[in-house]
Every structure is written in C-alpha cells, then in structure tokens.
Amino acid sequence: MHGGVTFFECTTRQGSVVVCSAIGHLYSVGTKGKVLRNTYPVWDFNWKAKSQVERRSTRLAKWIAAIGSLAENADRYVNACDYDIEGSLIGLTILRYACHGADRKASRMKFSTMTDRELREAYRNLSPRLDSSVAEAGRCRHELDWLYGINLSRALTESTLKQRRSYAALSTGRVQGPTLNFVVERELEIESFVPTPYWTIDAIIESEGKEYTLEYAKPRVPTSSEALQVVRDCEGQDLEVESVETREFHQLPPNPFDLPSLQAEAFRHFHYSPSKTLAVAERLYLGAVVSYPRTSSQKLPRDLGYREILHQLSQQNEYSRLAGKILISERLTPQQGPKDDPAHPAIYPTGEPPKSFLTDPEKNLYDLIVRRFMAVFGEPSLRTLSTMTLKHGPHSFLTKASRVLNAGWTEFYAPYSREYSQELPDLKGGERVQLKKIAATEKFVEPPPRYNSNSLLRRMEQAHIGTKATRAETIDTLYKRGYIKKSRIEATPLAIEISRILARHCPLILDPGFTAKLEELLTEIQEESRTRVNVLLETLSQFRSVMRDLVIAEDDVGSQLCRTVAAQTSLDRTLMSPCPQCGSALKIVRSRQSRKRFIGCTGRLEKGCSFSLPLPQFGKLTLLHQKCSACGFQLVLTRSKGYRKMISCARCYVNRVRMTRLKELTPMADPAAEPRSAIAILRKAPSSVQDHKE
C-alpha cells in the first residue's frame, strides 16, 4: 500500500518493477479558471484531475498522489492500460500530468487477454513509444463531448431555470441528442399511427388424424369482400395437392462475437441490457477467462492458437465432449465475419477455467461466448424446406415444413441456436383432401415497434454515432434523465419537447450525419491524416453559431421547456392509485409548516378530503408502477446514499402502525383477526436494469 493505494512490486533481471492500477480516467476536461456553473457558453478548457472536476471523484486524488510518488526516480514507464482509445488516453494523461511529462519516454504494452502467457509476451515485446495518435483521437473526443455537453445542457437547464417556475437538470449532447431523436421520432410515429385493416384466411385440413394449418397464398387480403368471397368459394370443398417442392439449404456457422453482436445475443437470450453485458464481459476479461470485449472485430486470427484453446476447453466438464469433437478435425478453420478491428480480435474464451466463483450472469455470458467460439469451427448445418401447394379453383393455399438433415454448428451452439422442425401432411400430387375449417379474420396493421435497448444500440451503430464502448452508457443516461422509460422504450413528454426545441433552434445537433462526420474526423486523427487542433477548430466554428442561435432564443426555449418540466414533475409525483375516500388523485406533497413530505389528496380543497399517508423523510422517492401484493396500493422506492434501496407500501405501513397501537390498547385482541395486509413490505429493490422495465 502506498498512500492508501495498492501496488505490486517485483524484481526482474533489469531491476525492480512497480505496477499500479489506474481505475479508469484520473484526469478529465474542465473549465479553465473559475467559471460559475450557470455560465454558458463556455469555450476555454483544460485537463484537470478528475477529483477537481467531479464531486463524486474526490477519492481519485489519493490515486494521483500515489502514482506520482511511485513514479519518482523511475527510469522507464509503461502504459499497460487496455489497448484501445480510452486505455491509451488514460495512460497518456496519467504519464503526462501525474508523472511529470513521462509520456515522452514511455512505452506501450499491447494485449487482448489477461492470461499469464499473453501478459508476459506483451511485456517482452513492448512498443517503444505510446500510441499517440490513438490517444490524441481520444483526447479530441473527450474535449468535443465536453464542449457540446456542457454548453447544450447548460443552455437547456439555465433557460428553464430563468423562467423561475420549475427546475430540472436537463442534458443533451453530441451523441445523446441524435439518439434521443431516434426514440422521439418513433414515439411520434406510433402516436399518430392510423392502422389499415386487412384480412387473413385461416384454413385447416386433416390428414391421418392430424390437423395442419394452411396459409392462403395472399397473406394479407386488402378488402373484406375479397376475403368473404374466398371463404364462400372454399367452404366445405376439397383441396387438390398441386405440388410439393423440397429444397435443401446450408446455413453457415455464425460469425465470432464482436461487442455489438454479443450484446444483441445476450439481450435475446438473457434479456441483459447492453450496459450490463459490457460490465459482465469486462469482469470475465479481468478474470482472464475471455478476451478483451470492447472490440469491433469479427475475426479470429490463426496465431491465437485455436487448438490450444479448444484443448483447454475440453478440460472443462461442460465443454469436454463438444470441444473434443472439434479437435478431431485435422484443420481448424473458423468462420470469419466481415468486420475488423486492428487493435483486438473478436471475443473468444482464453480456455483457462474460471479461477473464482462466477455469478449467474457471468456464467451465462461465459457459456454463450464459449459455445459461440466452438460453433464458428462447426460445419454448415443442412436443412430441408418443403412447401406443399393446395388448390381449389383460383384459390391457392400453402403449408410449409422444415427438417434438420445435419445439425452441423448448431450442435455446438445449442441451446442458443434456433431449432425448429415441422412435418408436411402425407399427401402426394393430385391427391384431394377436404377443408375442415376456413375463416376470414379481420386484422389491423400494427404500429412500428418500439425500440428496446438492443435495437436502439443497433440503430446507433447503423448511424455511426458513439463508439462501441459508449453507446450503452448513452442509453443509460437517457433513462437516468427521465427522457425514456420502460424496456420497450417510450419517450417521455420532456424528451419530445427537448427534441422539438433542438430541431427548431439547432437542428444540426439532432442530425446523425453531423455526428457521424465527426466520428470520421476522429478516425482521421487516429490515422494521422488530421490533427486534433484542426478538428477542434473546424467543429467549433460550426458549433459557435449553433450556440449563438440558442442564446438568442433563450426566453423562447425556457418558456416552452418550463411548461413540460412542470407537467412532468407533477406527473412524477401523482400516484396511479386514487384516493380511497373521495376518488381524487393522490400526490406526493410537502407540508409548508413542518416541511415533511407525505401522500396527500388533491380533493382537499374541493371535497374537503383529509386523506393522507406518511412517507420516508430521507432519500429520493420514486413512484413505482408495481402495486402492493397485499393491498394493491402503489409502491414507493426510496433511495438513500449508503443504505439499501427500499420498496415500501405507505398504506400497509399505516395499517401496521394502527394494528400495533390497537394491540397495545386491547392486549386481549385475537391475533388471528389481524388482516394480512397489515405488513409493511420492505425488500431489496431490483437492479437498475429491472428499474428500466418498470
């Protein structure tokens, strides 16, 4: 320990080596000099210790002091942070600011797994210089994100605050703005959606005592008259088998996992949010059981040593049979995907068995990664797809079936591969079969589907906004700000208003093309075809005019936002459950005299209702969409710093207090008469991912 910070020291032939962790960014962008928090626009910035910029990062000060002190008298420095933009930038800023300009003489360690073998090899083959261009691109990204974020967010918050009617911390940014706009556009599309009617024809035939469902050749019949005509023509009639077509098709093995595809698959099978998948994958990486997860590559280079990894996997009971089966092949050729990342290969298991206990999410994700790794070495699966066409006059009906001839790679990827098998009726061409049932069903076109965190992540990826490492975090921020809610994402009225205001006053911020262009410029810095200063100047010249327009429209923006913020705040404090005495809405209110908060009835003035319920006086309250299992009243979540989250039912709490008092007054009361609902529900709150689903 050195100044409260753990470090490791070992002795080699060249001398003593000190290793100290960086625990993420220790330096961050901040305002140059003293600038009040309500001032905007802000253009002057510099890199500062994160402890000076963020109140919650004060503990990082001792880290900087410890690293600075350990670095004194060192003759060599190595940046061994993760080999990516963020890792390069973390190392560069620490070496430059905490180690007094040591970045000029530092070398870089490159590795993709935390296995003993790879770390030793990476230390032996150090890159003589830091990857400055990568770090410069990262630096520019942070500076631009800070400039956009602080100026736009302050413009929104301060313009609302100046109206003196309501307060809310509002934020937007270079990536947040377009992402939110995707959700808002979809929300507006759903809100104003007009469904179109259509009819489906559902028919059933019976062959050898088994029923088969037929599809009408036209899956959507546009008019009721046409649908009824088909039913009238075919009812009680025989259908003739016109043809039976069978074709075989190969399904290639899946591509190795890059981060987005891992996040998509984890969402599909386990419903993990992208940020949760990333966090779990990082824990597995730190445990040296999988490779670096923040990768865009879908390729597994030969020098990884496929055979050795598979051999190690075959030592693990769960995978011994399958890994052994792959190892029988003389040549191991994995399926390779189209995407590549020069820094890291696709995500793969290192083969090393987990050294410590894995939690359920870690076990699930590890299993998914291992099975996918084995599947990419599998043969293509072979299936047959058969289609039988049956006719009556001009009307054709179809029935389809599928059969697996050779499981191929799907055997290695089970239970994550889709297995479906269906049989055709045993009928030959020209044979006739009676239609048992036929009906036309009126249906309506469904509105476009809502985004979920996975499909929103894919949309961001398609539009080239954000990075693989930050997209999940951006989505989490939208939840935290109250802009989006539920797992099938809904935009709140506040989000719709912010998008509308930004579209009116600074449409550039919502344009995904603008953000994608910026990403291209950042890539050019990485490729050394542009400099950081050049990109900053070019981008800021555009952004200054955006900010000028926003400052001019401050009053307009403030008055529009204010109304929505006030409405949203009121909505957030209103309970779903009505007052049990008068039926009016119940709200969380604060007493003007005692300053205590409680649930009060809004019918107090009109109806003279005095119904009220107590609430916890400390911590942040959130009204949940869940209802109490005992009394059906809306549950309240209380979050306090340093305490466990608490979900409670205000009504049950009161009942319990009343019962206790009653017992005290009448000690002979029958305990069996106590109602079940008089139990305060105190239990651990769900995780943040589950919160989103509420």
């Binding site: 599309e189 759903i190 809100e191 007009v194 179109t196 009617p197």
Partner: protein, 79 residues
C-alpha cells in the same frame, strides 16, 4: 401559463402547428394520417361512412394515442 388563444390546439391547448392549422403539430400529423387513411378504409370495407370510420378508429388499440384523441374530438364534433 400562456393564455389560451384562438390558434391553440382544441385537444391539448398547445400552440397550433402553423397559423393555417387547427391542431398542434402532433395532432395535426395524426389528423392528416386520418384523412389519408379514410379512402383505404372505405375501399377495404366497401360502404363505410366517415362517422363510422372515426368511431371505429377511436376505439382501436392499434391506433396511436394522438390518432385516438383526434378521432374522439372529431366524433364529438360530428354529434
């Protein structure tokens, strides 16, 4: 709170999309969608009247919330 003017949306009270529009932007969009959908519905059902169309629309769960609001408003006006 701003005073209600003649250009406010009769459904939600927000400012009308343009001076020529009756509704605010989201309700105006829903109204335009309703207008263009009527011909498709008429063709689909054969002899569908406009009041019957908006009545059906106002109760459809697949219809958007703004669409249902406009349909209910139009229905009240029809009556």
């Amino acid at each position: 709170m701003s005073k209600k003017s003649s250009t406010d949306c009769p459904i939600c009270g927000f400012e009308a999309a343009t001076s020529e529009d009756m509704y605010c932007a989201p309700h105006e969009k829903a109204s335009a969608n309703i207008r263009s959908a009527f011909s498709v519905w008429k063709l689909a059902y054969g002899n569908l009247t406009y009041p019957r169309f908006i009545e059906k629309l106002s109760k459809l769960p697949q219809a958007g919330t703004r669409t249902r609001e406009v349909a209910k408003f139009l229905l009240r006006q029809e009556r």
